[in-house]
């Protein structure tokens, strides 16, 4: 693979034995719990921050989504849902996407 970008795509195959209903449990823990690196030692990776924001948008509907089964994350529901409380996150997402040159691409599918 000769992709030059930082994070190559990879499928969710690593926990293939995990029941899909547990995805909400994984997200609850990995995004909101655990030790946080603080201060100058921490580095903010744009890719990672983008992913985190997208997941936070997703998680608001995770319990509905989990009913949809194993493919629940594939619909990119953050594009179609209109929760007002997400505006702040979406603003941050847009700013970040502009910063990394993704502006416009996310709108193409609409």
């Amino acid at each position: 693979m000769s992709t030059p970008q930082g994070l190559a795509r990879q499928g969710p195959q690593q926990l293939s034995d995990r029941h899909p209903a547990q995805l909400a449990d994984v997200l609850e823990r990995v995004l909101d719990k655990g030790i946080v690196i603080a201060g100058d030692i921490r580095i903010e990776l744009l890719d990672i921050e983008l992913l985190t924001i997208k997941l936070r948008l997703l998680i608001a509907s995770a319990d509905k989504a989990r009913e949809m089964g194993i493919d629940w994350w594939q619909g990119d529901p953050f594009l179609s849902r209109n929760a007002r409380e997400r505006e702040g996150l979406e603003g941050r997402l847009k700013a970040l996407e502009e910063k990394v040159g993704l502006d416009g691409e996310a709108q193409e599918d609409q």
Binding site: R29, K33, G34, I43, I48, W73
Partner: protein
Amino acid sequence: VTVSAPQETAYYVYGVVPRDQGLPPLEGVGLDVEFAPELIASGPLAAVASRIRVRSAEPVELDAEDAVARVLAHEAVLERVLETAEAVVPFRFGSACAEEADVVALLEAREEELVEALARLAGRVELGVKAYVDPVRVADAVCDGDDELAALRAEIASVGEGTAHLRRKQLDHRIAESAALERARVATALHRRLAATAVASCTNPLPEAASGLQPVINGAYLVERTDEGAFRRGAADAAAEHGAFGLRIDVTGPWPAYNFVGVDG
């Protein structure tokens, strides 16, 4: 906080283990499959970390699926480590340092806290519990156990739709109040029972109601590995005891002890 690293790779930190722990084979697992997680040691500690390529000129669109894959990769590394390690202190998603020296500095700066956490978690795992009741069965149980409500229900059933409207609203309100009380009772009883088999416990915000099930508890329990079976049996027994409410208990794990590290751990 540095934004957008200029260098080629950074170090992504999954968690911390005792220095002498060693790692299970982790090839092909992790946030960047090019780089297997390794140990970066300092004093009595070692960080489970992997190099991760930092974005260069070419932009890539990462969708929700990628995001989930990445989080699962973080979790997969820690679960593999947990299989063989006596203890692991999990880090939150997105924890990264620019240089290996920064990871070492991190271990030095927080050595006391991390050593204490590893000692506390040794031989223990986190189990998650989400429990739900069937709101219809709770409402039925509430009316069956209250003569006044039962009489009100019978009265409404015996008169016509229109005339019963106000009484019906009154009944619904009373049932909702009693049902909330019953759910709180179930949650308290359940949590106490589960916590009795755990060395530490905490509760988190309830998930949204889904598919006709009303959540009553979202708890995390730090349990001795040797007590996992007993804990699961206790949960199953509790579900059977509250069968009248249609109680369903989902036990998940064993997890790295996310809920028992950090500021409020």
